[in-house]
Amino acid sequence: MSVDLGVMFGLFLSVVLVNNLVFQGFLGICPFLGVSRKLDMAFGMGCAVTFVITMAGVITWCIMHFVLHPVAGWALGDPRALNFLQYVAFIMVIASMVQLVEMYLKKFFPPLYTALGVFLPLITTNCAILGACLYIYMKDETQQLLNALIYAFGGGIGFAIAIVIMAGIREHIRFSRVPRPLQGAGISLLIAGILALAFTGFTGIGK
C-alpha cells in the first residue's frame, strides 16, 4: 500500500486542531479540569498522555487486525464475530500498558517517573485514550497502521496543547476576583467554552 503524505498530514492537522479531542470530542475532560492548575504539571500530564495514547493506539490496532479479526474469521467464519470483545480487550491493553510504562520509567528514567508521579495511574481512566483507540477502529483513514499511529500521536499532541493552554490561562487568573460560586470548576468550564469557540474557528481546514 502506498504511503500518502498528504493524507497523513491532513489527518494529523485534523486531529490536533480541527477535531481536537478535548474541545470538539469532549474526551479527557476530567484530567483537563483536574490537572490544569499549574503549567508544569499540565505539561507533564500532556507528555504522559501523548506517550500512552500513541502506544495504546498502535497496540489496539494490532489486536483488532492481527488477533480478533483473524481468530474470528478462522474459528467462526466472520471476521467481525468477536467484535463484542473489543471493549474488554481495549481496556485490558490500556490498563496493562499504563502499568508497564510505569514500571519501565521507574527503572530506566527515575527523574521522569518522579516528575509524572501520580498522573501515571490516572491515565488508565482517561477517556481520551480509550476514545482515540475506538475512533481509530471506526475511521476509514486509520485502517492502515501508519495512519493509526499518526492519528493516535496527533490526538495526544492535541490533548497536550489543550491542557497547556488551559493551565496557562488558569495561572493568569489565579489572583483575579472570580465570583464565589464560579470559583474552581465553574470558571474553568467557562474558559474551556471560550477556548472551544476559538477552536471552532479551525473548522474547514483540511478534511
Partner: protein, 213 residues
C-alpha cells in the same frame, strides 16, 4: 440515629448532595458530549444507571475476594462487560440514538463516576447499601444530564422532544434557533455546564448550614 446513613439516605445523597455531575464533577465527558438533546441525555443516563447498578452489585458480592492491588483492573473489566451488554442492547432496540451517542456508550467504561462508586461504597458495604447507592447515583446522573439536555435543546433547536418522538414544547416562530446554534455545538456544552455548576454552587452556599450527618 446511628452513625451510618440509612439505605434511603444513601440513595438520596447520590441524587442531591453528592450529585455526581453537578457537585462531584465526575463523569464529565458524556455530560458535555451527549447533552445536546433530552432524548440522548435520558438514554445515556439509563445506560449508565444500568452499568453502575450491576458493577456495584458484582463488586459488593466479590468484595471479600478482591485483592487490593488488582482492584482497579477488576472494576474496569466488570464495567466493560456490562457496558458491552448495554451497548448491544442499545444497538438492537434504539439504533438511531445509539448511533448519535457513538463512542460515548463504550466510554462509560472509563467514566470515573462508576469506578468511584465501586471503590468508595461497593468495596466496603453490603449488597443492599451498594444497590441503594448505585440507584441514587444513577438517578442523580440522569437528572443532571437531563437538566443540561433540556437547556441546550430548547435554546439550540427551539424545541423539546421526548424519546418517543413526542414534541413537548416548541418555541414560537419569532425565536430563531439558528442564532443559538452554538448551544448544540461543543462550546455551548462547556458554557452551559459552567453556568449550571455556578448556579448549583450559589444555591449550596446560600443554604443555611445543617448539622453534618
Amino acid at each position: 440515629m446511628a452513625e451510618e446513613m440509612s439505605h434511603f439516605q444513601q440513595f438520596k445523597s447520590g441524587i442531591v448532595e453528592n450529585n455526581p455531575v453537578l457537585v462531584q464533577l465526575l463523569g464529565m465527558c458524556p455530560t458535555l458530549a451527549i447533552t445536546n438533546s433530552l432524548e440522548n441525555a435520558l438514554v445515556m443516563g439509563a445506560a449508565a444507571t444500568f452499568v453502575v447498578v450491576m458493577s456495584n452489585l458484582i463488586t459488593s458480592l466479590l468484595r471479600n475476594l478482591i485483592q487490593p492491588h488488582v482492584r482497579i483492573l477488576i472494576f474496569t473489566l466488570t464495567i466493560a462487560t456490562f457496558v458491552t451488554i448495554a451497548d448491544m442492547t442499545l444497538k438492537a432496540h434504539l439504533y438511531q440514538v445509539s448511533k448519535q451517542l457513538g463512542a460515548f456508550v463504550p466510554l462509560i467504561i472509563v467514566n470515573c463516576m462508576i469506578i468511584c462508586r465501586a471503590e468508595v461504597v461497593a468495596l466496603k458495604s453490603g449488597v443492599g447499601r451498594s444497590l441503594a447507592d448505585a440507584f441514587g447515583i444513577g438517578i442523580g446522573f440522569t437528572l443532571a444530564l437531563s437538566i443540561l439536555g433540556v437547556i441546550r435543546e430548547i435554546l439550540g433547536s427551539g424545541s423539546l422532544t421526548l424519546p418517543g418522538g413526542m414534541k413537548l414544547l416548541e418555541l414560537p416562530p419569532g425565536f430563531d434557533p439558528h442564532a443559538w446554534i452554538i448551544m448544540i455545538l461543543p462550546p455551548g456544552a462547556f458554557l452551559t455546564l459552567g453556568v449550571v455548576v455556578g448556579v448549583v454552587n450559589y444555591l449550596r452556599q446560600r443554604k443555611p448550614k445543617e448539622v453534618p450527618a
